[in-house]
């Protein structure tokens, strides 16, 4: 079985985002970029299934500008067998990403597609579900536990009410939550080895992806700020303030 992992490059989670004064976007000059944390978890899950002998090959795919090759080398160093770079100068929305991934799925015929449950830039949480719909296959989102056997995956999902377990027939789409695993660290020899691994490059336009249903981002603004409040010196003062506000 092959596993396809969607592996997005995003602004690192430690960066404090600044909105441009003219509202045209967020400042991206010189900002640190990293793999989406949830996608690292997705890749780790795929690598573990390969190590268990359940999968033979792990392929990472990204839709990103031409300069994203180091990002893919990173995923290859972590242990993916090969990479597909769908080149797009412009960022794509989840529906377009799902349509592009479907083209890769049709070509590669993976038994599992694993994605992060959300990308920490647009925070949409849509692509995996949309891919599953277009592919007409099961989805198991927000996975915190994953077992694969006998052509089926048993997945524990983090839902608002607690932990839900579902069973899905393969092929299927899984999206990862934070507690599924802790991604491994990349070692120096792995970085050397990754240099020899293949990266296939395709232009997004050449995939023949359908259009329509796009949403446009027209303005960006900083969020309403909460201001620093008062410091109290002891519990009595805190209780007095809470009572004054009618909260205790």
């Amino acid at each position: 079985m092959k596993i396809l992992v969607a592996y997005k490059r995003v602004v690192d989670f430690n960066v404090r985002i600044q909105v441009k004064p003219d509202g045209s976007g967020v400042a991206s000059e010189g900002v640190k970029l990293s793999p989406n944390p949830f996608d690292d978890i997705a890749l780790e899950a795929a690598l573990r299934l390969r190590e268990q002998g359940i999968a033979e090959e792990v392929i990472i795919a990204t839709i990103a500008p031409a300069d994203a090759q180091p990002h893919l080398r990173n995923g290859l160093a972590m242990g993916a067998n090969r990479a597909i770079h769908v080149v797009s100068a412009e960022p794509v929305q989840p529906l377009a990403a799902a349509r592009a991934l479907l083209k890769l799925v049709e070509k590669e015929q993976p038994g599992l597609v694993i994605l992060g449950k959300q990308a920490i830039d647009d925070d949409c949480s849509q692509t995996g579900q949309m891919l599953a719909a277009l592919w007409d296959r099961p989805q198991a989102t927000f996975a915190s536990k994953l077992e694969v056997a006998d052509g089926k995956a048993t997945v524990t999902r983090e839902v608002d009410a607690g932990l839900e377990t579902i069973e899905v027939d393969l092929p299927a789409v899984i999206t990862t939550d934070l507690r599924l695993n802790e991604p491994r660290f990349i070692k120096l020899p792995d970085i050397m080895k990754a240099k020899a691994k293949p990266i296939e490059t395709v232009e997004l336009a050449s995939l023949g992806v359908a259009h329509g249903g796009e949403i446009s981002n027209t303005n960006y603004a900083p969020p309403a700020k909460r201001s620093r409040g008062v410091m109290v010196k002891d519990v009595a003062e805190l209780v007095a303030l809470l009572q004054q506000k009618g909260l205790a």
Partner: protein
Amino acid sequence: MSKVLIIAEHLNGQLNTATARCVTCARALQPEAIDVLVLSDAPAAVAAQAAKLDGVSKVLNVARAENAHPLAAVLAPQIAAAARSGAYTHLLLPSTTFGKDVAPRAAALLGVGQVSDIMSVTGPHTFTRPIYAGNAIVTVETPSDALVVGTVRTASWPAMGEGANTAPVEALPVDAVLPTHTRFVGLQQASSERPDLQSAAKVVSGGRGVGSKENFEIIYKLADKLHAAAGASRAAVDAGYCPNDMQVGQTGKIIAPELYIAIGISGAIQHLTGIKDAGTIVAINKDGDAPIYEVADIGLVGDLFKLVPELEAAL
């Protein structure tokens, strides 16, 4: 004019309050009609609750054995069929794990993009939503000739009350072939006598500073004294101090209680994004420079093991 279809979220015959928040968001569209769709094996009780919400025009029931559990692959084709047949302009679900799972699947079947986490409505096709863990707010515009599919950021919208409304309840015949490739196995609910985290007026949360599962008792004791829900940071959940459904933040629950007390929580942006809309934030931390104090309305610096029992006793 807009015509809105809201998908009801429910569990064990109870309508989730997130649905009433979707009704408030729908009303901001000034629509000619707001219909609520209840997909269930036994929809009657939930439909009766939805029919009472102010502003609801009609409740539509789809009663099928396959709808006993909310499986996205099973629900989405029925939702898409209902959205098409009723000539709706907007399809709304709450931005809960239920809505996040189902809505994009329905949107893709309908061939449209989705607006996630709607914070405000500025027109029938113009909305604002948070990105980058709430560090930027983007205005989005959807195509004017296409159905709008959106999830509603529940913390941004108060729950519509139950008034004198008695909207009609009708059975909706839905012609959709449902897949059998996805099967429900079980739901492990963290049983809690405390108020529900997502709708509670008061929340007491503990972080890594609390130090252990046993120590979390002091968080629960304070919560019980205040009739508050109990929450946690990701670090506390990851360390196994408390169950996952207590996590507050970018990847947990986004909440807007009147009072939020953060104990032994440093205030990482991923945590703060979950509490931005809280009325009053109180922070208790031994580190006076912790970022939580940048957003706290009331800050108290000191050892939580001394201060929290003291606070509990003083209330």
